[in-house]
Symmetry: C2
Subunit: 251 residues, 2 copies
């Protein structure tokens, strides 16, 4: 039977800089009674990857530029936070009260450069996104393979808003061991004709599914194990999921 099972690994502690996420994953899998099998996927909330990698910044050490001060006034945001947002971005696309929509240096469009300042014991501390989420995913995959003999696909997910729909949804911002798109072009359909609908955003759908179990407070259950997800194994990276600018429908 066609079944997909997602498990939030239990007992994952709050992560701090230098923590070994692969070791935390192995302990969580053991607590859940799960042995890795080929085809399994592990999804990590971007925030714990960033925290393990020391990607936190203290606002009281940031000196906002004039540009950051100006945007902060328009958006009613902390100018020090705006400075960090600008540093993490290639381009500012839209300004709204409380909201700066940017093209992130990683290439995707998102709000406030993905910088998070909830769930931290220290009000002055914020968490950036991981420096290179594809590389983080590849390292986790490699460490898990070395420990278990099975190399799972690994995604790092974050919650993004959408252009036309309300509510955030999980998307993949780091990929290892999976083709993030499933190309159905050329696959015969049920009647033997060639399908029109073409590329499935498989990694983003898996990221969204995992996000359901992570919830808003992704720190409580940040690591999700998934069995039964249909995906094409292989090389893959975040950039595969991003529209080249000439195909961007709304810029």
């Amino acid at each position: 039977m066609n079944r997909l099972v997602l498990t939030a690994l239990p007992g994952i502690p709050l992560v701090t800089a230098g923590d070994d996420l692969a070791a935390l994953t192995l302990a969580g899998l053991e607590r859940a009674g799960i042995g890795l099998e080929p085809g399994d996927v592990l999804v990590y909330a971007s925030k714990i990857v960033a925290k393990a990698e020391g990607r936190t910044r203290r606002l009281d050490r940031v000196r906002p530029s004039p540009a950051a001060r100006e945007i902060a006034t328009v958006c009613a945001k902390d100018p020090r936070l705006v400075e960090l947002i600008l540093n993490e971005s290639r381009q500012v696309l839209r300004l709204r009260p409380g909201l700066i929509i940017v093209e992130h240096r990683l290439g995707f469009v998102c709000a406030n450069a993905g910088i998070d300042h909830s769930n931290l014991a220290d009000e002055e501390e914020v968490v950036l996104l991981p420096a290179d989420p594809d590389a983080s995913a590849a390292r986790l995959r490699q460490a898990l393979a070395a420990a278990t003999g099975v190399a799972p696909a690994v995604l790092i997910n974050d919650s993004h808003g959408r252009a036309w729909r309300l509510g955030t949804v999980g998307v993949a911002i780091g990929v290892a061991g999976m083709a993030p798109l499933t190309d159905r072009r050329g696959t015969p359909d049920l009647f033997g004709r060639v399908l029109q609908v073409t590329m499935l955003g498989t990694a983003d759908e898996i990221a969204a599914a995992a996000s359901l179990l992570q919830g808003a407070a992704a720190e409580a259950t940040p690591i999700i194990h998934i069995r039964g997800a249909p995906f094409v194994p292989g090389e893959g990276r975040l950039a595969d999921l991003l529209r080249p600018r000439h195909l961007d429908l709304f810029r």
Copy 2:
């Protein structure tokens, strides 16, 4: 343990006009050995709902308007199909080769008004979206509750492209028995402070998860049963998921 289990109901036949989807669901649940429980969700591929409701059209009965002919030339599409797309839309937003981005009469932005012409034995036949997917979802929920004594949440999903990312993902276009957004504003975070990140697109994340098991040929496994999805029961509808035009970030 925090676990989410999705099951593609086995043995669902190809659906045609007048078929009783609730009866097909009950038979599929029985084949899968699943008894409905409170909190369960059923997700239906929009195409089978539309087909059961007779929302198919024959291209050879369509007379394209001059506007449809003009757009068909720009987009290299069948002018009769363009005519149907225009009839199903409030506004054309963008034209690209092979692609007409519209605001659908149901309120969302999508490609080609969601009209599908794959997987049909008849090349001249296309499938529109259901006339009123919220009402379709409510009817299915009611019929399943009447038969089993348990009212599941029901979603109707479709695959949509995104503004900035490649690949289609499942989204909810019909909702019953669920608040499609989970409002986390005011929820204290792990440290007792109020969360900043606010509205989770829960119904869309569930729709995306279900889409993984439906695959591209959603007609083979169009009905997905889900247990363990965190959602707020209650009234809900598609419109809750759509940005009011004044909040639309990219128009």
